[in-house]
Amino acid sequence: MHEWSVADAVIRTVIDWADGKKIKVKKVVLGVPSFSFLDVEILKEAFDMMKKDSVLDEAELEVKFKDPKFKCKNCGKEFSLNEVKDQIDSVKSEFGEEYPMHFMPALAPSFIKCPYCGSHDIILESQDMTIDEIQVEENGTVKTVSQG
């Protein structure tokens, strides 16, 4: 269900960015943290329903999952999503489909411990949802605008 809010956020952001210019958005590339496990089918369905009558009318949504890199500030070791998969699974089984990190990947340090030393003092990159690329058609030419 949360996917509808995400679609809403993406559409509003792109409309705001387009700012009434005479362009057609052809494609939006959205980067999401992989451990939010957003349901891409639902997200695309929501996007297609909500994009109507806007600059995004013809736009396609592409979702790229970004794998987070974790680093423990306590012992200094780096670890991957795979190494904490069991921890994420147990949060999912406690909370169900709408588990905390599904909404807020930045909550990860509250639920994930370093697999080496058990510390919660972990930092992770790629935790925010971002619009990484927008493809637009302007005066008949298609161009890609990448977003920093």
Partner: protein
């Protein structure tokens, strides 16, 4: 581009937004935010004090999880007050947030919540932290600074007031525990104070967990304060 920030801005656009803050902890800020929200009626109260999460405790909502619909995170509803808290997402788990994660959580909480009232009240953690900066980025809010008449509170509230004024805001000061009403005679046990005073009412303690049932002297006085906003 950060879609969450855009969504958070849109969620608050055109609404009356109040941020209840304090320079110091333990001045009764969350009780006051709750009573303000209840007294105004038709408000959404958003708990940004993510480390204490006192709001759910005051309303007896501990351990309850928010439902999620197509409109987003559905607030808890008590009388005409809607309540959103991170505790409704993490249940009774502790929350550890290194550095920048805090603002990201707050932005998401606002962005994903279903806010359908015209007035939104934020309960902020004490001090000058990320929360104020997040709110400044997304909305033009009216600050309500809660303090007590003690000397130390007066001193620490000064820097918060200075910051807010520098940012072009005109903060309203609510002084908790300001006076006692002894059969019509006003007694100020902690001395004089500046700002709008709220009476001492020891019976509030009995309403922790069901603050929505409180109808005493502090609430009466808050009605007057709300008129002045």
């Amino acid at each position: 581009m950060e879609p969450l920030r855009q969504l958070a801005k849109d969620k608050l656009a055109g609404k009356k937004v109040y941020a209840v803050m304090s320079a110091k902890g333990g001045v009764g800020k969350s009780v006051i935010s709750s009573l303000l929200a209840l007294t105004m009626g038709g408000t959404t109260l958003i708990d940004l004090d993510i480390h204490t999460m006192a709001i759910p405790k005051l309303f007896g909502l501990e351990g309850k999880l928010h439902e999620v619909s197509k409109n987003g995170i559905e607030p808890f509803e008590i009388k005409t007050t809607k309540i959103v808290s991170l505790s409704g997402i993490v249940k009774d788990n502790y929350v550890i947030l290194p550095g920048g994660n805090q603002s990201s959580i707050m932005e998401s909480l606002i962005a994903y919540s279903h806010i359908d009232t015209n007035t939104v009240i934020f309960d902020l953690p004490p001090g000058l932290g990320d929360e104020i900066l997040v709110l400044e980025r997304i909305t033009d809010f009216t600050p309500i600074v809660v303090t007590t008449p003690s000397k130390i509170s007066k001193k620490v509230v000064d820097y918060l007031m200075r910051y807010l004024r520098e940012r072009g805001k005109e903060p309203k000061i609510l002084v908790n525990l300001a006076y006692m009403d002894c059969d019509g005679k006003v007694v100020k046990p902690f001395g004089e104070y500046e700002g709008f005073g709220l009476p001492i009412d020891p019976s509030i303690e009995e309403y922790i967990g069901r603050i929505q049932d409180y109808e005493g002297a502090v609430k009466e006085k808050l009605k007057e304060f709300i008129q002045s906003l």
